[in-house]
Symmetry: C2
Subunit: 311 residues, 2 copies
């Protein structure tokens, strides 16, 4: 299954000329998930050249404008383009009224259904699942109710060891599904062949966690443990720790501490305050804490790859 | 008084990569008026390099997204930048709830006052005036309640004919104001000197009219008669007249007919359907009806200049 992230924008609250506010597109197989939707996201989607009409699920972290003001425009464009496929929107309690009130005033009549899942719980739960993918919310700590999101592949089936299987003529193709699910095989003579002799370990399941906006919140570490890729906001540097605390944001050092403690594969920083012109200072602060840290690139595409296990 | 228009965007409903939706900035002396505010307008304002914090008045034509979805983002940015100056918003009935509901959900607390003037009348009236400028709504005919706006200088004072005045030693500086206002002067001997002998005609008052979105509506002609510059939507060409009628938009030919009948100085077309790649076809259709027609340029600046009177 393809599993890749496109960063559509990563700016913090006050828009810049050349960097869009927060929005990301996550491709998991045939699924296109939109994560946050700041103003202008639909133009970023056009620039990314993805078939964004295929987005069926939107996950909004919180109702601050730089994360949600582009959603009504995207919905309107879907409507103008004649979309009929339902759109599922996950976000904080209130997001339904936030959107529906705008649709009412603009007298927009969508041909497609809008389904809202409003979140208000304070623990991490599975909020979406299908046969291959599950999504959990990650409770964050911001000035307003906020969630990050964890996207992960569901456990995969074991791989058949065809060479081993062929030794047993009793095993037929219709038995393969059970073997892939880990069941042992009983021969007609009563002998049980352990599954481990007939199959290999399944491929590793991959995962991506998005955490923005939040102050340093170490209790998310167990939720995002060993994710292959983590995006964590780092609005400030440590020399503005007091401002980070007051505005409920993280520093680059704190983001790196989360990445280190969660033993993630790679960390992407983002949501930088506009006071910083040269973003390399964020790497300078984060890398000593967590080496595999990178800066985001607008419209950059990041494959979610297995975390390299240290021996 | 400086009087110039900056076109921030002129696209129709579905956004393009490189053309922003409708928004214009009108400078009249020290006043900065924002006309419509499609998604992304604040980024266009940054690109235009005007001091957009000086915008104190916003005029929204109608509540379709491509004319208003950028307003909440602009207000939020004003709030983040610590604005304290009141902001006056003129627009259709409902615009206050449209904006305030979003501010409520985003838990935004503006330090500045937001004053809304909700329009619902169907005639043209003065909706804003100060010592030098007045603004009138122009009732349009769209799928949703819509107004264009007429911006004009108020009548100016007459110019003193100093040479003529000097012939009468009785006329003192304290009399100049009355002369500029058009009053005759009575000498001590009772003789009346007509004002026309002591002053020249005042400078022409300039005016700009914005008309979008609307179907062909000839009854706006008396309202915009002889404006120096007219922006009129022309979403379609005449070969799609039926579609123009059905969606309540104008063709280039109809826009030019309005310009011709209103004897305006210059016509700028805009709000083109995305189906047209080469916009010169709009000029081809409009110019035979009204020669002084031009296409808009994004971030283009247009001085409002006196209409050249034909003899």
């Amino acid at each position: 299954m393809s599993f890749k992230l496109t960063i559509l924008g990563y700016n913090s609250a006050v828009p810049k000329r050349d960097v869009a506010p927060t929005a990301q597109l996550l491709e998991m197989g045939s699924r296109l998930f939109l994560i946050d939707c700041g103003e202008g996201t639909q133009v970023q989607l056009r620039k990314s050249k993805v078939r964004f009409s295929k987005i069926n699920h939107v996950f909004i972290s919180h109702l601050h404008g730089d994360h949600v003001f582009g959603l009504i425009g995207l919905i309107s464009t879907f409507q103008l383009l004649g979309r009929e496929t339902p759109l599922h929107i996950f976000g904080p309690k209130g997001i339904q009224d936030f959107i529906m009130n705008q649709l009412r005033h603009t007298e927009s009549h969508c041909l497609f259904e809008l389904y809202f899942t409003e979140l208000s719980h304070k623990t991490s739960e599975i909020i979406y699942e299908d046969d291959k993918v599950e999504v959990l919310n990650i409770p964050l700590d911001h000035r307003i109710y906020a969630n990050g999101y964890l996207f992960r592949e569901r456990p995969k089936l074991r791989k058949l060891n065809i060479e081993a299987i062929r030794k047993f003529s009793e095993i037929e193709i219709c038995d393969y599904e059970n073997l892939r699910r880990g069941k042992d095989f009983q021969l007609e003579n009563g002998q049980v062949i352990p599954n481990s002799e007939l199959t290999f370990e399944p491929p590793k399941t991959l995962s991506y966690a998005f955490c923005s906006d939040t102050r340093y919140k170490p209790d998310i570490v167990p939720i995002i443990k060993k994710v292959d890729l983590l995006y964590h906001e780092s609005t400030f540097l440590s020399n503005l720790q007091e401002m980070a605390d007051r505005t409920a944001h993280s520093t680059a050092r704190e983001a790196a501490m989360i990445a280190r403690d969660a033993e993630v594969g790679q960390l992407i920083l983002g949501h930088f305050s506009n006071r910083y012109e040269d973003l390399s200072v964020f790497l300078d602060e984060a890398k000593p804490v967590f080496e595999n840290t990178i800066l985001p690139e607008q419209l950059g595409v990041y494959e979610i790859q297995p975390k390299e296990e240290t021996v």
